[in-house]
């Protein structure tokens, strides 16, 4: 195994491939850092280029793009409160307040370190235990997915700000938006008001970027931009004491494992991993009230889980040939076009390529951290671009990104629609994150509920008796009970 890895590292240590990884990580970071452009898009664009390369070279480029694309999102999340990709939503919660406090440099250091080690651990897990992990993922059917989603939805309570009711209402609204378009399974068009364009429903990217980025631009539009010229940039502190780091070790480890686990489950993905890890970190923390006000733990939870989800998502792809999301579906396409059929035989038949991929991942991970550390002083300069120029350009890029999802103007329309909704929600102090969670998880919930009922011929019993499903539903009941109890105690004592 170790020898194989050395062979793999040897095979990617050619000038050409290293150059490809460098280019991939760099381009990925650029795509990740621009709101509206994502790793998915970067890979979609570069996929055709890889057809002309040999398989290790092609996959190395794609791995660089993947790691760069997921990591780049932390830059605008911390500096501008704009999540660069779905994977960095939760990074904005504490990263931006840290930057506001003048701790942008520290936030970067935390985020990059968490990204690096989170990614590394997940890559190691991928190398060592992909086949058994993949087999575990197979045990998750409709009943299990239904239970996990129900459990994840209870986390809304800790993402709701001051009012849990508003949080639940926002999540319900998210589920409603998620239902627009063809219903799962029978494709019955719902809430389309007769518009063909709505048949396919709303795409995640425009919804997300609209809610988080466009709404911010609208908020800024309230005031004429004051020129907040350089707030003494040179004073920024980048160094974080080792002790401060170590105080996050459990948080880091838990978030990494959660990211890995969520990544492995097909269909849920990095966009939710960071939110769920963040909510859990907040729940477990002794000082949950610090979260959202610039607590490094929030940044660590979000950034370690989203990078850990990369290795996780590759587990079912490499070990079973099963893609869990759009990115891995495209990677699958890339492999097949090179004559490699991902599946149980891939490691046996094409071990050289697989270990080449692992080596490329490790190198890309190192390069990602290196680029970000070298670049962070430059990123901070981004803030010195006058906002009245920066924001309109960011909006244009959001438009390009939304258009690029499906090459439809419709998606640009929904970008603005959700931007306006996001604006009014911020004004009404209705939290945005539960809406996103509802939007992502709602369709998964419904699909699996209905599939489960088809499997059980209409009986609800297996949802409660299948062991994994039962555990998650029990956890749900337990966590709601605990929350109610804590609230009750708070009321009695205070």
């Amino acid at each position: 195994m170790f020898e194989l890895l050395l062979d793999g590292i040897n095979s990617v240590f050619t000038f050409k491939i290293i150059l490809l990884i460098v280019a991939g990580v760099f381009l990925g970071l650029v795509f990740g850092s621009i709101p509206g452009l994502t790793a998915t898009m970067a890979i979609a664009i570069c996929l055709p280029i890889t057809y002309g390369m040999d398989s290790v070279a092609g996959m190395s480029l794609l791995m660089g793009l993947y790691i760069g694309g997921v990591s780049g999102g932390l830059i605008p999340a911390i500096l501008l409160k704009l999540p660069g990709t779905p994977s960095s939503i939760a990074t904005t919660f504490d990263g931006y307040p840290m930057a506001q406090k003048g701790e942008a440099g520290k936030a970067f250091t935390y985020a990059i370190t968490a990204s690096f080690f989170g990614g590394l651990i997940s890559i190691i897990a991928l190398m060592l235990i992909a086949p058994p992990l993949g087999r575990v993922a197979l045990q998750f059917g409709p009943f299990e997915f239904f239970a996990i989603v129900v459990f994840s939805l209870t986390l809304i309570s800790s993402l709701s700000g001051d009012s849990i009711i508003k949080g639940i209402l926002a999540a319900a609204l998210g589920i409603v938006f998620g239902m627009v378009g063809s219903a799962p399974i029978d494709a019955f068009p719902r809430f389309t008001f007769g518009f063909d364009s709505l048949d396919a429903g709303f795409d995640l990217l425009p919804v997300l970027i609209g809610l988080f980025a466009v709404s911010e631009i609208l908020i800024t539009a309230e005031q004429k931009v004051k020129n907040n010229k350089k707030k003494k940039m040179n004073k920024i502190q980048y160094r974080v004491k080792l002790k401060e780091f170590l105080s996050q070790k459990w948080n880091f480890l838990r978030s990494t494992l959660m990211g890995l686990g969520i990544g492995i489950l097909p269909g849920i993905g990095g966009g939710t991993a960071n939110i769920i890890a963040y909510a859990t970190a907040k729940n477990v923390s002794k000082t949950p009230e610090e979260f959202g006000k610039g607590h490094p733990g929030g940044v660590v939870a979000s950034e370690s889980s989203n990078n850990a989800a990369i290795g996780g998502a590759l587990v079912p792809l490499i070990s079973l040939g099963i893609p869990g999301d759009t990115v891995t579906a495209m990677l699958l396409g890339g492999l097949v076009l090179h004559g490699l059929q991902p599946g149980p035989m891939l490691i046996q038949n094409h071990g050289d390529v697989v270990y080449g991929i692992f080596a490329a991942l490790i190198i890309a991970n190192v390069l990602m951290a290196l680029f970000l550390f070298l670049g962070m002083r430059v990123f901070v300069k981004l803030l010195s671009i006058p906002q009245q120029i920066l924001l309109p350009i960011i909006f244009i890029l959001c438009v390009v990104g939304a258009f690029g999802v499906n090459n439809r103007i419709f998606d640009v329309g929904s970008l603005i629609f959700f931007g306006i909704i996001g604006y009014f929600m911020i004004k009404g102090k209705v939290p945005l994150t539960p809406l996103v969670l509802g939007f992502i998880l709602g369709p998964i919930l419904e699909t699996n509920l209905r599939r489960g009922l088809m499997l059980s011929e209409g009986s609800f019993v297996p949802f409660l008796t299948e062991p994994i499903a039962a555990v998650f539903l029990l956890l749900t009941v337990f966590s709601i009970g605990l929350k109610l109890f804590m609230n009750y105690r708070k009321k009695v004592s205070g």
Binding site: I45, I165, V176, D186, T220, V225, V399, G404, G428
Partner: protein, 164 residues
């Protein structure tokens, strides 16, 4: 006071949403035989929203002060007396965005973007610091640059409109 009316509005909006969702799901038929059809989840969610928002409505009417106490940025809003002026600016920006999207289809990405960028930058900046020529230049360069990079390098076929 403002706080109260806001939460009341929110709960009324959600009440309306729940009624809309429920009434629309009455017309849904399942195309396949399954224990629950396409109308099941919409109805459940509609009822959930209805119950919660009714409760929320009652609470926010009964308890108008709410949690104003820990609302720190509320102070800011009060200082900025000109609420309607603020809203006009947001409305203008929103309208500009919508017009921009329509224009992309007709006159193409480049021209629409140049127009949008320039007007938006002017809208954002204060009268004294405006420099329309610089804005226009930046707009032209960015729009053309983005268009060519995406269309020719990344093959994202941004609409070319009348220029194509």
């Amino acid at each position: 006071m403002k706080h109260m009316s806001r939460d009341v509005y929110i709960s009324i909006i959600f009440l309306i949403i729940s009624i809309l969702v429920f009434s629309m799901s009455l017309n849904m038929q399942a195309l396949t035989t399954s224990a629950v059809g396409a109308d099941f989840l919409p109805k459940v969610i509609a009822i959930l929203i209805f119950v919660l928002s009714s409760y929320f409505l009652i609470v926010s009417i009964k308890n108008p002060v709410g949690n104003v106490v820990d609302d720190t940025d509320e102070m800011e809003e009060i200082n900025d007396s000109d609420e309607s002026k603020k809203f006009t600016r947001v409305l203008l920006t929103g309208l500009l965005m919508i017009i921009y999207v329509f224009l992309i289809n007709f006159i193409g990405f480049i021209l629409a973007s140049i127009l949008y960028l320039t007007v938006q930058m002017v809208l954002f900046s204060s009268v004294t610091k405006r420099n329309i020529i610089v804005y226009l230049l930046i707009s032209i360069v960015t729009s053309v640059f983005i268009y060519f990079v995406f269309r020719n390098i990344f093959y994202v076929m941004l609409p070319s409109g009348i220029l194509g």
